[in-house]
Subunit: 294 residues, 4 copies
Amino acid sequence: MVQIGKATIGEEKIREYEPYMYKGVIDERLKRVQEAYDRWQKTRTFEFPTWLYGQPLGKLFKVEVEDCPTFGETSWLELDSARTAFFSIDMQGWAWLLYNRQGYDTKLIDAPIQPIKNCLDAVRKTDMKVVHFREGHRPDLADCPFRKSYINKVVGEGITFGSQDPGGCGRIATRGQPNHDTISELYPIPGEYIVDKSGKGAFHHSDILQLLLNMFPPPTHLILTGITTDVCVHTIMREANDFGYWCLLLKDCTGSTDWENHLSAIKQVKMRGGVFGWVSDSQRFLEGVEANLT
Amino acid sequence: MVQIGKATIGEEKIREYEPYMYKGVIDERLKRVQEAYDRWQKTRTFEFPTWLYGQPLGKLFKVEVEDCPTFGETSWLELDSARTAFFSIDMQGWAWLLYNRQGYDTKLIDAPIQPIKNCLDAVRKTDMKVVHFREGHRPDLADCPFRKSYINKVVGEGITFGSQDPGGCGRIATRGQPNHDTISELYPIPGEYIVDKSGKGAFHHSDILQLLLNMFPPPTHLILTGITTDVCVHTIMREANDFGYWCLLLKDCTGSTDWENHLSAIKQVKMRGGVFGWVSDSQRFLEGVEANLT
Amino acid sequence: MVQIGKATIGEEKIREYEPYMYKGVIDERLKRVQEAYDRWQKTRTFEFPTWLYGQPLGKLFKVEVEDCPTFGETSWLELDSARTAFFSIDMQGWAWLLYNRQGYDTKLIDAPIQPIKNCLDAVRKTDMKVVHFREGHRPDLADCPFRKSYINKVVGEGITFGSQDPGGCGRIATRGQPNHDTISELYPIPGEYIVDKSGKGAFHHSDILQLLLNMFPPPTHLILTGITTDVCVHTIMREANDFGYWCLLLKDCTGSTDWENHLSAIKQVKMRGGVFGWVSDSQRFLEGVEANLT
Amino acid sequence: MVQIGKATIGEEKIREYEPYMYKGVIDERLKRVQEAYDRWQKTRTFEFPTWLYGQPLGKLFKVEVEDCPTFGETSWLELDSARTAFFSIDMQGWAWLLYNRQGYDTKLIDAPIQPIKNCLDAVRKTDMKVVHFREGHRPDLADCPFRKSYINKVVGEGITFGSQDPGGCGRIATRGQPNHDTISELYPIPGEYIVDKSGKGAFHHSDILQLLLNMFPPPTHLILTGITTDVCVHTIMREANDFGYWCLLLKDCTGSTDWENHLSAIKQVKMRGGVFGWVSDSQRFLEGVEANLT
């Protein structure tokens, strides 16, 4: 132990993980979890935790979630409308163009258009926030990793991100080009957010976290829809879940380039009680919205 | 405009920044700011915005802040105790060891010890959170940029991060070594948080954001104290402010290697109405705590 | 257009995405991609790009990758040993404990132990870096989102992260507890890196990016192994890929709680030419290492 | 110790920071630092570390840096032109408009215009990259924290970010508005990068890190210029330095709202051997460029 000026350095009681430190925090945490668990056993509902986030700033509503906590079982998720954001992910023209060229069946990504539209129609009558994501690159491709350009060039037989679309829809997945924009069927309306991202995920290279933390009010729960199920939707869901957001995937509002991957992506979410969030569908979501928010 | 499957691509109404998009959001935002401004003109208080964060989960209290909105003027900041975190930054043994060797006057960093202690004594009687930061490196220096090791080697005449302290206090600024730990006078108690960081800032390379977002409840306002004013305290304040946290620096609870830099760092915070947050001191903070939380 | 002091504000030539700006950058980018593509067509090899990263600092070696660029085809990936990091992800005791309790077949996660061991044996004779990841929480659970504790409590019939393991292996997935540590078969050796992370991914809440950017030298290519294929391995792969790292998954060095999800996770990587990276296996990786690095 | 399947859990040799783990890494690190230090003592030059980053991809050049390692001393920094990025930070119209209104002397920010211009003229003849930053907000202010809008409203007597400029220059600091753009004197040219950021710093809420990591080639050294010295220039410098970038501030290419804060911000960089990087000026930078790159 050394004394320099007024500072005592090298206290003997060097931090120990256990049992000394943090004691108060873990006790409160386990207690709160126990209380929530006790209530869940009675209600089968993952209630909006007002002790954690405060009283609702909108209206509470409940959505049935499937295969939770285990396959074949049903639970309910409760949300505060004012603290819920609805994500419509990458419903952009270039997906149809590119997957079509690469030989994938675009009927799989046609499928979610109408269910998302139905949800948007309902959500727009509430105080939920809507965020539209768009994957794509700066016109100079400066935010496109070389490997990404390269591998797409190889698989696309010469056509990659930033290449001119032979069908006349402009440079592929490039900001400012028609094919980069959200498809007309699901176009944003005033008051909604648009997030341009260069990756499959969004939290590293876009301002989505800045937006979420600074919304009026900041959301706690997220509804995930869009394409593709196993790529961008899943990546954003994983990132958001890691930050602590409560995520709900609407399965019929998603689609992929491959039916097996789509199904597996949905199943992956449900493992271990909901490792990345919960799964429901547009019908049950709409029932929840209509029963409580209208 | 192209139709592929059910998707319409290349809508003519390509996103325009103005005047079409986002209209609802900006109107609400400017209205909320106007309302807050109108109230501030009456109360000179930056009130806790319940419409944004919900009703208080602890108790509200007010602290007088100086030179705000302009030099010579006084305002008040209102906080919710349960959503306030008190940061004690880098009050670690190695600062005294290293600055002493480098010829700086460690009386400048002695000065904040007692004021921070006084604040901690008061804060520990409330539901405010306490976070202790520690700058330092993995024992293998794996998280220490080469330039950082190098420049410190040059200025330290051969002694750098990870070197054995000639005075017997272990490897300098290395985790697990006595000199890396918080000084005894300000040692954490159970229920408080310790954040080890490899940089001057904390939000990139530590789990501080994860902690803040997942506290019970997540803080909205931060109290900043520690050393050094112009380096680590300022960097963390800048990062937190950019994320949207409401930051309050207690000036007598900070110190630097240089008196001019200390004073300028405080002044820098106050520019342009409080560009990085607000400035007060331990006495006014304690008055606020005692008047409202005890 | 306004002139204030020496500044001219409001130039008419407001930034346009196209066709004015960034022209040089996109031309160089498309040219580099074209050159790499031309060479790939001759060699079927994704060569280490020395024009991008500089001359090799170790030795070049090649690994055969499967189903690339499309299913049924084979390509080669070339790496610089000194700029390659080998990731062993979450091979921790608590996985066996917890999945066993939850009724999953732990043979699926037994399977990768020996293949990873074989790779580690070979890698340790080279200048490749090794990083061991561990998912788990601070002893106070401060970095565990409430939802994560909660959902695991529900699915675990009362046993969650931080709970005492009824079998006597300490608090589950809690740092400092035996079950949190890497299993003995794959234990780190001196000179390797250990990254503790609170999420499924690692780039947000740990210092992995700091480590990668500051290694001697910084890696450009990553080898991914560990558990579970569809959860932590995939999340880390997605994050790294988004940052621009060249990722290679060794499929027999991974395992999951579910065989279908494991297979689909591997397939998902291969879509669209390798949307998250490439897939190979331990045998082909070892062949590449042995042929070039020994 | 427990055996489940093929996994052995709870090895007795739980990770210890010292002396067991990481041994190889620290030895190499200290050795590399020692070697660099030995060479520095002979050359007074912080050489470009080819063992770390590879052989130069452009040309090496040297710039004299002042007050390094201590005040009154001089050293040299060596850079690889192809791995150097020149940052021109926030040289936007709204700074002049807003500071003028707030009563600050805009001569202080006039001063760096010509020195930056001189540097840009020289840099544009080399293979260095140029990045122009712009602080400002989405037209809907969605990325503007409420506190930021609020405090600027208070200090600006009702005029804040997003407000209409009474002088007719559009909404203040709002993307797409003339006052948000770079001033004409320092306008970007094709092949340069523009980064829009919502904060004082840039690494959290913009794609700057994505750009840097994916440039052809990725820079290791950064030249910092722009306004204001103590706010945005310093914040970006702190962030970049924490990530391990080698930063060089050109002091006459910066300016602030306050002369004391400007001087102190420069002095702060020089403390402790260069805690955030090095300081030089346009003349010495141009000498280095002209002597080696032309």
